[in-house]
Symmetry: C2
Subunit: 434 residues, 2 copies
C-alpha cells in the first residue's frame, strides 16, 4: 500500500470532531478504498482545553494555524474554521502557496474567493476540494462536476438551507407563524442565535453561486444572486398555497439564458410555490436536495442531510479519499481561467406564474385599486383569494395567482402600488416552480 495521505485539521468544532471520529471509525475501510490510509498529522483550534468528545492526545497540536501550511509532514490541510475572510482565507492562501492540497467546508470563503483559490490551486497543480461546502453530506459537487459532466445544464435548483426548510415545513405542518417557529428552531438547535445568514437566504446564495459556477462553467458571481429570505412569510401564505396544491420552499435556482443577444447567468434564492407532486415538495425538515436538469440526463435529484457533523464529515473525507486516489482536475470542472465571465441575466422577460399576497387595510375600494394596478401593468389574474375575516389590527390578506407572464409586468404592478395607503406592507411575490 502507498504512503498515507497526511492531513492537518484546522478547526475542531462540530465538523472537525466529526472528521476525527469518522477517520477513527472507518479508517481501515477507507484505506482499502483509497489504496492508502488517511493520517492526521496535526490539529489546531483556538482552545486546546475545550471538551470535544474526542481524544486528541494522539495528534500533534499546533497553536498557530498558519504553521499547518508549512509543516513538511502535511500533504493536505482541511480548513474547518469558517468565515469568508480572516484566518480561514489566510490559511487557504498559505496552504495552496506552499503547494499543499486544501479541503474546506467553507461556503462563504468559496463563494467570495473561490476563483482566486482555484487559480492558485491550478497554478500549483494541487487539489482544492469543497464538497462539504454545499448541501452537507450530499455528493452534489461531484454529481455536477463529474456525474452530469456530459450534459449542458438546462436548469439547476434546490433546497440548500436546512434551517429554512425546517422552519418552512414546520410552518406548513403546524399552521404557526414564522417568529414562533424560528424561536422553537433556535431552542432545538436547528437555527442559530443569530439566524440572519440562514433565514435571509445568504447561506443558500453562497451555495447556489458555487453550484452555478460548476454547472454553467461561469466565474462565481455571488454579488449577482438575487436574494430573498423567508422572514416575511405568514401562516396564511401556507394555507393559500395548500389550497392551490402547492407547498412553500426556499429555492436556489440558476440557469443560463441563451435567448437574448448576450448570454446571462440567472441566480435567485427565493421562496417558491412548489407543486405538491414535485420531488422537492417531499423534502422535509432539515434535508437538502438539488435538482440538475441536463440536456441528455433529464432531471437528476440528489438528496440527503444538509448539515450535521456526520454528514459534513462524510463529504470532507470523501474529498480526502478522492485526493488519496489521485483525483485530478479543475475545482470548478473547467480551469478557472476558462470559466466564462457571464453577466447577470435580466429577470424581467422571464415568464412565470406568480403568487402575490397583499396585506391591506380593511376598507372599500382596496381590491379595485389592486386590480387596476394589475390591469395597467398587463398582469392577468388566474385566481383570486380574498381572506374575508380581518386579521389582528384590521388587516385583510388578499392573495392571487397570475397567469404565466413576464416578471417585469408583475414588478410594474407592484411599483404602481408603491406608497399606496391601502397597503400595510409591500406586496409579497413568490413564483410558482414550473
Amino acid at each position: 500500500m502507498a504512503e498515507p495521505l497526511r492531513i492537518a485539521l484546522a478547526g475542531l468544532g462540530t465538523v472537525g470532531g466529526g472528521v476525527i471520529r469518522l477517520i477513527e471509525a472507518n479508517g481501515a475501510l477507507i484505506a482499502r478504498r483509497a489504496g492508502r490510509s488517511l493520517e492526521i498529522a496535526a490539529v489546531c483550534a483556538r482552545d486546546r482545553t475545550k471538551e470535544r468528545g474526542v481524544d486528541l492526545s494522539a495528534y500533534p497540536w499546533e497553536d498557530d494555524m498558519t504553521v499547518l501550511a508549512e509543516r513538511a509532514d502535511v500533504d493536505v490541510v482541511v480548513e474547518l474554521v469558517g468565515g469568508s475572510d480572516g484566518p480561514a482565507l489566510a490559511l487557504a492562501r498559505r496552504t495552496l502557496a506552499a503547494g499543499k492540497g486544501l479541503v474546506t467546508a467553507n461556503k462563504a470563503m468559496i463563494a467570495h474567493h473561490g476563483m482566486e483559490l482555484a487559480s492558485a490551486a491550478e497554478a500549483q497543480r494541487v487539489p482544492l476540494k469543497f464538497e462539504a461546502a454545499v448541501a452537507g453530506g450530499i455528493p452534489v459537487i461531484k454529481g455536477l462536476r463529474e456525474g452530469a459532466a456530459a450534459n449542458q445544464l438546462v436548469r439547476l435548483y434546490g433546497i440548500l438551507n436546512g434551517t429554512c426548510n425546517y422552519i418552512l415545513t414546520t410552518m406548513e405542518r403546524t399552521g404557526r407563524d414564522f417568529g414562533e417557529v424560528l424561536k422553537d428552531a433556535q431552542d432545538l438547535g436547528y437555527a442559530e442565535a443569530d439566524p440572519t445568514f440562514d433565514v435571509e437566504g445568504i447561506d443558500a446564495a453562497h451555495k447556489l453561486a458555487i453550484l452555478a459556477a460548476i454547472g454553467f462553467g461561469a466565474r462565481i458571481d455571488f454579488a449577482a444572486v438575487e436574494i430573498e429570505g423567508i422572514t416575511r412569510l405568514r401562516a396564511a401564505d401556507f394555507a393559500q398555497a395548500a389550497a392551490l396544491g402547492y407547498v412553500i420552499r426556499l429555492i436556489g435556482l440558476a440557469d443560463c439564458e441563451q435567448t437574448s443577444a448576450t448570454r446571462g447567468l440567472f441566480q435567485r434564492v427565493q421562496p417558491y410555490l412548489v407543486p405538491r407532486e414535485h420531488p422537492l415538495a417531499a423534502v422535509d425538515g432539515a434535508t437538502n436536495a438539488v435538482v440538475a436538469e441536463g440536456n441528455f440526463s433529464g432531471r437528476l435529484l440528489f438528496q440527503g442531510a444538509g448539515a450535521g457533523d456526520g454528514p459534513t464529515a462524510s463529504a470532507v473525507v470523501a474529498d480526502l479519499i478522492d485526493i488519496a486516489r489521485g483525483d485530478a482536475g479543475a475545482p470548478f470542472s473547467v480551469p478557472a481561467a476558462e470559466l466564462e465571465d457571464l453577466p447577470a441575466a435580466d429577470p424581467g422577460p422571464r415568464r412565470n406564474r406568480a403568487y402575490l399576497r397583499f396585506t391591506v387595510a380593511d376598507r372599500p375600494g382596496v381590491l379595485a385599486e389592486i386590480s387596476a394596478a394589475m390591469r395597467d401593468a398587463g398582469v392577468s389574474i388566474e385566481s383570486l383569494i380574498q381572506q374575508g375575516r380581518p386579521e389582528e389590527g384590521g388587516e385583510v390578506l388578499i392573495a392571487m395567482v397570475t397567469h404565466e407572464g413576464p416578471e417585469n409586468a408583475v414588478a410594474e404592478a407592484v411599483a404602481l402600488l408603491q406608497g399606496s395607503p391601502s397597503l400595510t406592507e409591500p406586496p409579497l411575490v413568490m413564483r410558482l416552480l414550473g
Copy 2:
C-alpha cells in the same frame, strides 16, 4: 489541450445512437471539462444500413466487432451490444487484454463477469467503468464508489427497474390488474415484448448485485440475490396497501449483517410496502432511485431517469470524461482481489413487519385455518382485512399485516398452509420497508 480520447463504439442501438448524438451536441463543452476532446475513432454494429437517425458517414466503420479491440487508434472501447456472454463478453475480454479501457452499459455482463473483468482491467492498469449499467443516467455508481466512500454502509436499497415502477405506479393510480397494465406498457414501449427480465426482477437483481459489491466491498454474487418479481400482484393488494398508508414498489435491498458469527451479505429484490411518507413512495413512473444509508452520511438519495437513450448516454459519456481526466482506481472501489467473498446471509432471523395475502375458496373455516397456522408458527397479527365480496370464481382475498417478527416464522406459517385445499394459490408475502 491534450490529445483527444479516441473511442470505439460497439453497438449502435438506442443508447449507441444517443452517445453519438451527445458527443456531437456537447462536444465542445465536454472538451473544456475533460481537458481533451472525445473522438469517435470507429463504430460497429450488426447492420450498417439500418436507419438510426444519426449520420455515421464521418466515423470509420468496422464490420467485425473484435477488431475494435485491436485498432491502434482506439484508447477506449464502449460496449453497448448487450447480453451477459457471447459477443459482448468476447469484446470486453479482448479490449482489456489489449490494454484498452472499457466502458459498458451491460448490467448482465457485469453482474455475471464483473470480477473477472475488473481483475483483468486492474492487471492491465486500464479503466473499466459501467455507470450506465445501473439506474440509467443517475450517477449512483460514482455516488457509492466516491461520494459515499467515507462511510460504512448500513443499508442500500432502491427502485432499480423503470418498467416495473411504471407498471406498479400505474396499477396504483388506475386500480387495474397486472396483466392489463403490462399490455398497455408494452404498447407504449415501456415494457418489452418479452418482459421476463424486467417483471420477474432479474434486471433489478443484476443492478443490485453490482451496487452491493461496491457498497459492501464484497465480490459480486448475483446467484445469491433472492428474487421475486411483480407478476403476482393484484389490484386488491394496492387497495389494501393504500388503506394502511403504503404504496407498493419493487425494491432491491442489500445489507451486510454483522450480528451473526460470520458476516453475510443479504441481497433481495422483492415488492415491498413502502410508507407513503418515504422518499421512494414519491418515485413515479419509469424513474429510478437509490438510497444509500451510511454510518456518517445518513440517508443519501439519488434519483433520475432509469433508462432511455439520453440518460444512458449521459452516464456512458460521464465515464468517458472521467477516463479523459485520468480517473484511476478500482472499478469496484476496492481492488478485485481484496473484495470479500461474503456468504449469503440467512434471511430467517431478519425482523420485519410483513403483509400476507391469501387467496382462498369462499367457505367456512378458512380464516380459522389461516389463523391457526399463524399462531402455531408464532406469527403475531397486527391487523386483518378480509375482503367480503367474493372475486370472480368464488375467491375471497384475506390480507393481514404482522407485528414485527422474524422472517422464518412467517415462512413457517406459509409452509404449514402448503397444500391446503382452502388456498387457491400460494400466499403472497411482502415486507414493509422499515
